[in-house]
Amino acid sequence: MQLMQETARIAPPITAAPARRVTFIEPPRRWQWVNVAELWRFRDLALQLAWRDIKVRYKQTLLGAGWAIFQPAMMMLVFVVFFHGSGHVSSGELPYPLFVYAGLLPWIFFATAMSSAAQSVVGSERLITKIYFPRLAIPLAAVATAVVDAAMAMVLLVGMMAWYHVAPGPGLLMLPIVFGVIALTATGLGTLLAALNVAYRDVRYVIPFLIQIWMFATPSIYTQTSALPDHVRSLVVFNPMVGLIEGFRAAALGGPMPWTQLAAASTTGVLALLVGCLYFRRIEDTFADTI
């Protein structure tokens, strides 16, 4: 009797069954589009995963979410002391600390989003081998986590702008767009690397290198590119992050918007997303077998 009550308690009868869902299970196809509808159905999961990462990261830490601000702030200090002190960098009319912070913020967002997305799939081995869900939710959640960190870091940026009396111009409207393009690029590369990382763990060792070298190849983080010698400028023009960081700074602190570079970077960003997601989808069916 008690057993019956118990089972009744845990298994309420099915009420108004939703529309029948028929699933076909077939051998993997070579290329397939991103199943946006399914991804949307699992949006709660992506959010939960992101939320988990955010909460877990700062559990049992003293500074807590303050770390999201502390990191770029410390890097800013390093640049101010060593680069600005040496006089080899120029920030135009803007105060150098503000200038470099407005460059570091989008860069750190990009680097964190890309590398955590790249590591995310391998880090979720238990999930992948035990349950089905659209695998793209994992790198997307990793990028979402980086977005939250960037939002925290933005607080200090606003504070510094107030301190230095720098007001944004109408370019501020471009801020979400520029930020979005950075996120697209990071997601594209992150998913590509995440998929590669499942088969070749070498990727794990490549990522820190890649980020370091890329940072040096992105002088717009710490100096005005117009002040660079021509032969350097003609090299960095192929790096979409150069234009994106300048665009971010122009949007936040005012100044001329580098439209051509932004347009080029947006194209690369969309392309990166396309390639990343398609490749990810191409091999995601084998994740559970190879991870």
Binding site: L3, E6, T7, A8, R9, I10, A11, P12, P13, I14, A17, P18, R20, R21, V22, T23, F24, I25, E26, P27, P28, F42, D44, L45, Q48, L49, W51, R52, K55, V56, K59, Q60, R126, L127, I128, T129, K130, I131, Y132, F133, D285, T286, A288, D289
Partner: protein
């Protein structure tokens, strides 16, 4: 009504990477050069196509499950059960063939998937719920029920890493138990946890079946299959051997196990130690009527028959049979000298029988049988003559099968002694009784 699950010619091929036997490295220099050489080799291999051995985990499998049916999948390790569940849960894709699933699928290949030790019970309910495919409003609606069922109300905001293992499993199972799929796919969830938890899990699945949900269920627990499942599917080497009413299929499965047994009993291929004047050639685990037994049920008599082939007549031989754990701890031993049983071997073949009475080993265990015979010299010894699996019977089904529990079981009861007599009692006793 269309079948809930329809599987057509499903096959899954894994490529097995045969590890090349590498010589053991001796010096640092050798190991360094070895490592370098092998990484170069790997790189070269990676660029070309590596030679892989194909392994068919599932081979042309077809079957159907009607709505409301509870299908049990049985088979030995490596028969393809887990691969089948993984394909039907969409974790991995088949190599060829197809399956059609009509309805919302919930799969439980593990309880507590995605649980994070740093997060609180509350947070883990939401996380785990959405991993299992529940929406946030759905979880919120069932939240109180989940918490009540897991009996963790006071600990909701504590990180689960501080939970006892019982609380952890209860919470994990509770979330899973509140999943309301039309089709449930379950794998050996019953294999973990204590008896009370296992019973809950079985009750839950009976309830699901009673409501007309479709369940596909894999278990090694042969007691559960006929109680829960209306039909069963017997797999071997990725192929279907039998399908039909659970009791019939189970009988075939048990029959197949014993039919295979003689090979396992043949001791000529095993490692023998001793001077070899005589050898153990066969061992069989039988019941009182001499019929072969596939497993030993806890509490039953354990009867072993030993076939011995001798080169010559040997007088006054001592025979011994030892039941030991996988780690080599001796659980039970018997020795002919101990009971003054005289053994004289004759040239040729003879069979002796050792009958242990009411052997109560922990269900779920596997034990080894070690055989030895000696005069004053060791004649023959086989360390791992046979592996015996211990299962539970009706009386012992509530016992925990966890490997951390004692290997030998006996009946016991607990009671509380009303009042410790502090003044007059032995000081040692006082400590164990504790404060009232």
């Amino acid at each position: 009504m269309p079948p809930a699950i329809q599987v057509e010619n499903l096959s899954k091929c894994y490529r097995v990477n045969h590890a090349v036997a590498r010589p053991a490295y001796r010096t640092l220099r050798e190991s360094l050069t070895g490592a370098l050489a092998s990484s170069v080799q790997r790189l070269r291999k990676g660029l070309k196509t590596t030679r892989h051995e194909p392994f068919w985990a599932l081979d042309d499998l077809s079957f159907e499950v009607q709505p409301g049916e509870v299908l049990g999948v049985i088979g030995r390790n490596g028969s393809g059960k887990s691969t089948l569940l993984k394909i039907l849960s969409r974790i991995t894709k088949p190599t060829t063939g197809r399956a059609r699933i009509d309805g919302r699928v919930g799969s439980l290949l593990e309880v507590g998937t995605g649980f994070h030790p740093e997060l609180s019970g509350r947070e883990n309910i939401f996380l785990n719920g959405s991993i299992l495919g529940m929406s946030r409003p759905e979880i919120r609606r069932k939240f109180d029920e989940i918490v009540a069922f897991a009996e963790v109300e006071q600990f909701l905001d504590m990180p689960v890493k501080r939970y006892s293992s019982g609380m952890y499993v209860r919470l994990a199972f509770s979330v899973a138990a509140h999943l309301e799929p039309e089709i449930l796919i379950v794998d050996e969830v019953l294999a973990v946890g204590d008896a009370a938890y296992q019973r809950r899990c079985i009750d839950r699945m009976s309830a699901l079946a009673a409501e007309g949900r479709t369940v596909l269920f894999v278990s090694h627990n042969m007691d559960v299959i006929p109680r829960l499942c209306s039909r069963a599917l017997f797999l071997e080497k990725g192929r279907k051997v039998a399908e039909g009413p659970a009791a019939d299929v189970l009988r075939r499965y048990m029959g197949r196990q014993t039919a295979d047994a003689p090979d396992a009993e043949n001791l000529t291929g095993k490692v023998h130690i001793g001077d070899g004047r005589a050898q153990f050639t066969r061992i069989s685990h039988v019941d009182a009527d001499g019929k072969p037994m596939p497993v030993h049920a806890c509490g039953d008599d354990l009867i072993l028959r030993l076939e011995i082939r001798s080169d010559r007549d040997i007088r006054d031989v001592a025979l011994s049979v030892v039941i030991q754990t996988l780690q080599g701890a001796r659980l039970i031993s018997s020795w002919t000298r101990e009971v003054d049983y005289r053994v004289d071997l004759f040239k040729g073949v003879q069979i002796y029988q050792c009958h242990f009475q009411r052997v109560r080993l922990r269900p779920g265990r596997r034990v080894y049988v070690q055989l030895a015979m000696a005069t004053h010299n060791l004649i023959d010894c086989v360390e791992d003559a046979q592996v015996i699996e211990v299962t539970d019977n009706w009386e012992t089904r509530t016992l925990s099968t966890e490997s951390t529990q004692g290997a030998v079981v006996c009946g016991y009861e607990w009671s509380k002694i009303a009042k410790p007599q502090a003044q007059h009692a032995d000081p040692c006793l006082d400590q164990t009784v504790g404060q009232p």
